[in-house]
Amino acid sequence: MEKKNGNHKELVVSAIENGTVIDHIPVQSVFQVTRLLRLDELSSHVLIGTNLDSKKFGKKGIVKVSDKYFAREDINKIALVAPTATLIEIRGFKVTEKKQVEVPDTIEKVVRCVNPNCVTNVENVPTRFRVINKQDVKLRCHYCEKITDKRNMGFR
């Protein structure tokens, strides 16, 4: 992956027969993305690139996963730490889906509420948040109504 020119990079991306490419990941979030998607638990091919040159962002990270398509829930997670990321799905060497990840209006299950005394941290209750700020990500808990933001965000 290191030191690719534009053409070669295209080749590597399309070299996946089936699977998912997550491009334009901010460099500081690459390994957070790999953790959030639990890539360490997969048995298929996983390629992780970071500090790659990007025309748009200067430096970027990229993750390529063979034979795996992610659920909406997982993609939401990425949007919280890597709002600039692009999601590319490949089937039979062809790009079948390409879209910008987006912070959704509500976040379910993946984020832990910052409040230790919230019912979601005490009883067996999946978390639910309303996104009250998409740029400087701020989530209001549907249950305890406290705000979880970028600085104190943890993932389940």
Partner: protein, 301 residues
């Protein structure tokens, strides 16, 4: 409002608040109406409370309904390790409505999602206490003749006081100007202040109570909780600055009334009790009427 739970103060619209307050006014005129005959209300208090529980039970009894429940978690199946979900689903089989107080924040919202009968939140940790909020609104309207465009001063523990949080939020619908008086350590949290900012209303912050008094129509005093302070010296320093005495009300507007959710410790001197500004005991009585109004509206009677 029929069959809807009341969990957080923003579950109800401004019009619905007003409807409850109007209904409460009727109950104030005639509190003994047997409209709850044959109905069972469960009061589940996972955390002890005197005022809220008794005023709910009093409200149900005046209306001819019956009350079941428990007064602390130690005497319930929670002690055997039962989940909140199971407790609620079971109790919902035995009653028409559940009133609950629980020390965990968000527990009432969760209960309303698993319960087959409506839930009234009587306090969930430091989060919400909407029935207190409604009785506060009732008391404000009663003493000021209106809710719109009032100057409301909140005094004391603005950080952890859930009654302050609920009332602050509700008053954003009524063009309120806020005067926030607290020690620096106990300022209103930004998660609550955001409601004032979003509504584009004015707020002023003070540490000195006497500065805020001349501006206020309503002085909403709360207890400063000693246990919140890590440094006991800090607590000693601030506790006396909020000892409201009768002579401090000299510069107050003639319509000013002093409210307090109670219990009070030393933040209001007893010499205030005999002034015409003192309203906190009447405020506690208003709780019965407001809860009667809620029971009527939610049970659709």
């Amino acid at each position: 409002m029929k069959n809807r739970s009341l969990i957080s103060i923003d579950d109800f619209s401004k019009e619905e608040f007003i409807r409850i307050l109007d209904l409460a006014e009727e109950f104030e005129k005639n509190p003994r109406q047997r409209i709850l005959e044959g109905k069972v209300v469960a009061t589940l208090f996972f955390e002890p409370s005197t005022r809220t529980r008794l005023s709910f039970e009093s409200a149900v009894n005046y209306l001819g309904g019956r009350v079941i429940g428990f007064t602390d978690a130690a005497s319930s199946s929670v002690k055997k390790g039962e989940s909140l979900k199971d407790t609620i689903k079971t109790v919902a089989n035995y009653c028409d409505l559940i009133v609950m107080r629980h020390p965990v924040e968000g527990s009432a919202r969760f209960a309303s999602e698993v319960s087959s009968v409506p839930i009234i939140n009587a306090g969930d940790g430091a989060n919400q206490h909407p029935t207190q909020c409604l009785l506060d609104l009732y008391s404000i309207r009663k003493t000021q003749g209106k809710l719109d465009k009032l100057n409301v001063a909140f005094v004391g523990d603005l950080k952890y006081g859930r009654t302050v949080h609920s009332l602050t939020q509700a008053l954003t619908q009524f063009n309120t100007t806020y005067h926030l008086v607290s020690p620096l350590e106990l300022k209103l949290p930004s998660a609550v202040k955001i409601y004032i900012k979003d509504a584009k209303l004015d707020y002023f912050q003070y540490t000195d109570l006497s500065e805020a008094i001349p501006h206020a129509d309503v002085l909403y005093v709360t207890r400063i909780q000693r246990e919140r302070f890590s440094d006991p010296i800090e607590y000693e320093k601030v506790k006396n600055s909020y000892n409201l005495m009768a002579e401090m009300l000299k510069n107050a507007k003639p319509n000013l009334r002093v409210l307090h959710p109670l219990p009070r410790v030393n933040e209001i001197h007893e010499d205030v009790d005999d002034t015409r500004q003192a309203y906190y005991f009447q405020q506690a009585l208003n709780g019965v009427y407001v809860r009667q109004a809620l029971l009527k509206a939610i049970l659709g009677l």
